[in-house]
Amino acid sequence: MNPARVLAVVTPYTVTPGLMDALQVTVLVLVAAGATAVVLTRVSARQVIALSVYGLLLAVLFLTFQAPDVTLSELTVGAVALPILLLLTLAKVRRREK
């Protein structure tokens, strides 16, 4: 453990360092699993949903890294805007295939 274990500020919502480590490790494992899941789903439609869930997991990870700005940005872009663009492209590709 590195020396800076003292808590910067103690509020009713402060997460104790031990709990924060555990939280970060679990979310990191989930993010790694999410990335693998997104890459391994070959059906594009399902992959977009997996990407959206992956965006959510990343947003939670950034929250545990104390980065709310990037969390909001990852939520709006990663979990919402990109999947919409992907779905529109897939709709266009599927419509032409018919």
Partner: protein
């Protein structure tokens, strides 16, 4: 715990590149490119994290409290928008590629060879 986040970063990068190399559908390849870029966010924010520190917003906290590095978050923000921009352009190219080639398999998308 010291190195684990960076192992996850290396894993996401490797999986993303694996997805790109073995992809047989252009939209799948573009999503794997998004995964490769997301590895840079986790690396950037992992590098700037300070254990036991608060987020860098001093609305309700005095200024000298130890806070996480804001510069890295600004870089990650810039990156998220760059990713959206490049992905939008790639998807537009994918739509036109499907019109011209009739398929989205990178192995068939070959007009210029040799």
């Amino acid at each position: 715990m010291q190195v684990f986040p960076f192992v996850v970063v290396a894993w996401i990068l490797g999986v993303g590149l694996y997805g790109i190399v073995t992809s047989r559908h252009l939209v799948h390849l573009i999503v794997c490119l998004i995964i490769v870029q997301s590895s840079t966010y986790v690396l950037l924010l992992g590098v700037g994290y300070v254990t036991g520190a608060v987020a860098p917003y001093f609305f309700d906290v005095p200024v000298h409290t130890p806070a996480v590095d804001p510069v890295v978050q600004a870089l990650a923000l810039t990156d998220v928008v760059v990713e959206a921009a490049v992905t939008a352009l790639l998807l537009a190219l994918a739509v036109q590629a499907h019109k011209r080639f009739g398929t989205l398999d990178p192995n068939e998308l070959v007009q210029l060879r040799g």
